[in-house]
């Protein structure tokens, strides 16, 4: 018995309900979609249903499985009738058994809504006047629910008007990261009526995300963020298209993804992705709006590679390595901080698409929400940049360096000739000294500033508490040209 099935025979609800009996189910909900005697004011005499069965079968099963998982229901099934049906006959049946009524109702509702929206099913309506016509059910599902989304409050702005609204409706924006910044960016852009929004995020919703990511509810925990955000926004504004991409942005796909849009918005939470977005945007001549937050502060930058503007690397030639700034622990954030910075990003996107004045360009905006201060710093294009930023070698340069880490007992590494450098700060060293002998102790900042004093004939092994800072330091030193630096995998914590 498949969770989703097509049938050419009449549907028998009683038998289907009985088959879902479950002693653990305190609730059972069923929905029957029946053939109506009218549509759009015309009298319907009968209907014919047709489906692209190969495609619809798998998709139907996915829909049922998603609803079960999302609502924690016990069992569910959906049967869709095909062929000729008379008025009053059951065209589609959904049944859900769950521990309680709430899950049963919710899962049942989700299944029928998704079936209507996602399955390639067509119906031919035969009218009493002898006329007939085919309709794609996904279209009739949308047409039945006339989108009541009114842009009048922004149309009235003299700089926008119908022409501006049209421009937004024809635009595609790529949003990388659907976290704190992303939720604010996505809400702002969806509300403004951006025609197509692509949401790129491979992460799933975690309970710790919810306080600052209001597109998700506790029910979404464990779901893919891209899909959950797209579903929420599609319900919020049915007049726009949402394209969830539950993938991680990598050197291999960054350019392909960035060229899909008119603008790319970076809402990621790590340096590797930020530099990747910057580089892909510059190489494909797309504008990028980047932001980052730290506790009560944020930074905003608009990279106009399409207009010979400066980019992230004009200020930060070497990609900053994750793990170098701050430390291995989370630094903390209050919900309004990413919300403010994300709203500023959405505003810059709209200014750019609508050609509004005052756009941030060749500048970095620093925002401090404790003292309510902001600074607009001029950030010019690097001197050596001609056609495009000369500091970008290729997007692939951001890929991780192979064989950066070594997993060995320290004594053995020393015996193999590695020079051991303890890069922890003095307090850490005093608290748990490295009982090795023959090693050097050079705190991380001092080591980075003294990179030129490393002897190119030697091999260095950097050591820290958990291997995160040492790895980042080794990456940075290698990027600076010191190929003879390695990191102790897992740090001292793994030495036992």
């Amino acid at each position: 018995m498949n969770a989703f099935e097509f049938t050419h025979e009449p549907i028998e609800p009683a038998a289907l309900s009985a088959a879902l009996a479950d002693p653990a189910a305190g609730g059972f909900a069923a929905f029957e979609g029946r053939v109506r005697n009218q549509n759009d004011g015309r009298v319907v005499s009968r209907l014919e249903y047709e489906a692209f069965e190969e495609l619809a079968q798998g998709e139907g099963e996915r829909i049922v499985a998603e609803a079960l998982r999302r609502h924690g229901a016990l069992r569910a099934r959906c049967v869709h009738r095909l062929g000729a049906l008379a008025v009053g006959e059951v065209a589609v049946w959904v049944g859900v058994a769950a521990a309680h009524r709430a899950e049963a109702f919710a899962a049942c509702r989700q299944i029928i809504d998704e079936i209507k929206h996602r399955l390639p099913i067509w119906k031919k309506e035969h009218f009493a006047d002898g006329d007939s016509g085919w309709v794609n059910c996904t279209h009739c599902a949308e047409a039945a629910r006339v989108p009541d989304f009114d842009y009048s409050r922004q149309l009235v702005l003299p700089e926008i008007g119908t022409a501006g609204q049209q421009r937004l409706a024809q635009s595609t924006v790529i949003v990388i990261g659907a976290g704190g910044l992303g939720c604010a960016v996505l809400s702002g852009l969806a509300g403004a009526g951006i025609g197509t929004i692509v949401i790129v995020d491979d992460d799933v919703v975690d309970p710790a995300n919810l306080h600052r990511q209001p597109l998700y509810t506790p029910d979404d925990v464990g779901r893919q963020k891209a899909g959950a955000a797209a579903a929420r926004l599609a319900a919020y504004n049915p007049t726009i298209r949402l394209r969830p991409m539950p993938v991680r942005l990598t050197a291999a796909n960054a350019k392909e993804i960035v060229v899909l849009g008119d603008v790319v918005v970076d809402c990621s939470d790590n340096f590797a992705t930020k530099f990747l977005v910057n580089d892909a945007a510059v190489l494909s001549g797309r504008p990028a709006v980047l932001a980052s937050v730290y506790q009560y502060e944020g930074q905003l930058q608009v990279v106009r590679a399409d207009a010979r503007g400066s980019c992230l690397r004009c200020q930060w030639p070497e990609a900053t390595r994750d793990g170098l700034v701050g430390n291995c622990t989370e630094s903390g954030v209050l919900p309004p901080v990413p919300a403010v910075l994300g709203s500023l990003q959405a505003m810059e996107v709209l200014k750019l698409l609508l050609d509004l004045p005052g756009q941030l360009r060749d500048e970095v905006l620093l925002v401090d929400l404790l003292e309510l201060g902001q600074r607009r710093l001029s950030a010019p294009r690097a001197r050596e940049c001609n056609d495009r930023c000369a500091r970008i070698r290729s997007v692939d340069a951001a890929a991780p360096t192979p064989e950066l880490e070594i997993a060995l007992p320290l004594a053995e590494a020393a015996a193999q000739g590695y020079r051991i450098i303890d890069i922890r700060n003095p307090e850490e060293c005093a608290q748990s000294p490295l009982a090795l002998g023959g090693h050097e102790s050079i705190p991380l900042p001092r080591l980075l500033d003294a990179a030129s004093t490393l002897d190119p004939r030697l091999r260095y092994l950097l050591v820290c508490a958990h291997g995160i800072r040492s790895r980042a330091a080794a990456e940075q030193l290698r990027a600076g040209g010191s190929g003879n630096v390695w990191s102790l995998q897992g740090g001292l914590a793994r030495q036992g």
Binding site: W316, T320, G326, P445
Partner: protein
């Protein structure tokens, strides 16, 4: 001696324990100034990890400081 106004952001604000201060310094460049402040406040970020802006413009570490300059040291941040 020059009198310069300083603004701290992110990690530097935490480590300095303040958002802003005005200091008298013999430092001629942002580089020398940062070294002086790093000792005073125990800054753990290397100069190579930071950017500096003088009077609202990104600049290099060896530009000449003048009396009354506003200097901002900017650490990279990545939270999202």
């Amino acid at each position: 001696m020059a009198r310069v106004h300083l603004r701290y952001y992110a990690l530097l604000r935490e480590q300095a324990g303040r958002q802003a201060e005005t200091v008298e310094t013999a430092a001629q460049t942002p580089e020398a100034l940062y070294a002086e402040l790093a000792t005073r406040h125990g800054f753990r970020l290397a100069q190579s990890q930071l950017k500096v802006a003088v009077n609202a413009s990104f600049t290099d570490w060896t530009c000449a400081l003048a009396d009354g300059d506003e200097v901002v040291f900017i650490p990279p941040v990545a939270g999202g």
